[in-house]
Symmetry: C2
Subunit: 155 residues, 2 copies
DNA sequence: GCGAATAGTGCAGTACCTTCACGATATGGA
DNA sequence: TCCATATCGTGAAGGTACTGCACTATTCGC
């Protein structure tokens, strides 16, 4: 029963979640809410249905997340310039700064983790992790397509 | 803005979660519940507070998860042989078989992912991923210790 | 114009998790 | 032996993250 690369990756996956939860403990921010802020930082002001697409969740869920973020002062709902049904959700100054800090932390963590790997292993590591990510993505997407086909057939 | 190893690892982390959710869609099983079954499969029949320790969650939460698993026929609450306050939670035959299938799937996924990596990169990959996992664990634990110290000081 | 699609939300419901309080039982001394 | 104390599990209450359906307001295509 040896520890495989897969097990290590799962362990890393758990540690990431824990680290993120720790980082925002004691604030109104949570994983789901930070993801909204993160997307807004990268895409700029967005309509809620665009956020739903980017986050791969339902528009209804975005409403709730934006409600919470708005109440806590992290985002604003501005009127959409051309569509009166929609809002433009945008970061407040506080949230922009927080996201910038997060970007820096992300870069620092990236560097710190890479520094733990001997120089001579880094290229192979980079290739290997990329290959695994691609393969895993392919497998998951194929699996989801197969499930969708089954649902289609039984409908 | 290049894609770092860290970004790849985060992507892998998301894909794992998605894969697990897909695998149990349409059943009463969820990530949290499967984790309970997984622990039981590895530790054998356990008292609920032991499950809470193993899952790093509260005993109260375990009560709810075991309630759901018991209602769905995946576990049984047997009397504890020496402690009348406690139960021994144990897998039913159905759940044992499911966990065995899961173990096989796990091994197959492990093999499939490793097969995506060229033979010549595997050793370096293994070392690199292990080094990153260890470093990340160290960082997270140090961070948690620092937070605990702050809480202690302000109390 | 007018019917159909779209943007967002109220309402209802599920799951996961927390904290606090409590009853039942176990345990380690005096 | 008896009692204080700790432990095991759960009721109650509450917060967050989701889902689906129904509905309003608006936009868009013909």
């Amino acid at each position: 029963m040896d520890v495989t690369v897969l097990d290590r990756l799962l362990q890393i996956s758990e540690l990431f979640q824990r680290d993120l939860a720790n980082a925002f403990a004691g604030t109104p921010l949570t994983t789901a809410r930070v993801r909204v802020l993160w997307v807004l930082a990268h895409r700029g002001p967005s309509a809620q249905h665009d956020l739903a697409d980017a986050l791969e969740t339902s528009p209804r869920n975005v409403t709730g997340l934006v409600d919470a973020l708005e109440a806590a002062g992290y985002v604003r709902r501005a009127p959409h310039p051309t569509d009166r049904r929609a809002y433009l959700v945008e970061l407040t100054a506080v949230a922009s700064e927080q996201m910038e800090r997060m970007r820096v932390d992300h870069a620092e963590l990236s560097a710190a983790l890479l520094a733990a790997v001997p120089e001579s292993d880094r290229d192979a590591l980079e290739r290997g992790v990329a290959a695994i990510a691609d393969r895993l993505e392919t497998l998951v997407l194929a699996d989801e397509a197969a499930r969708a086909a089954v649902r289609e057939a039984s409908a």
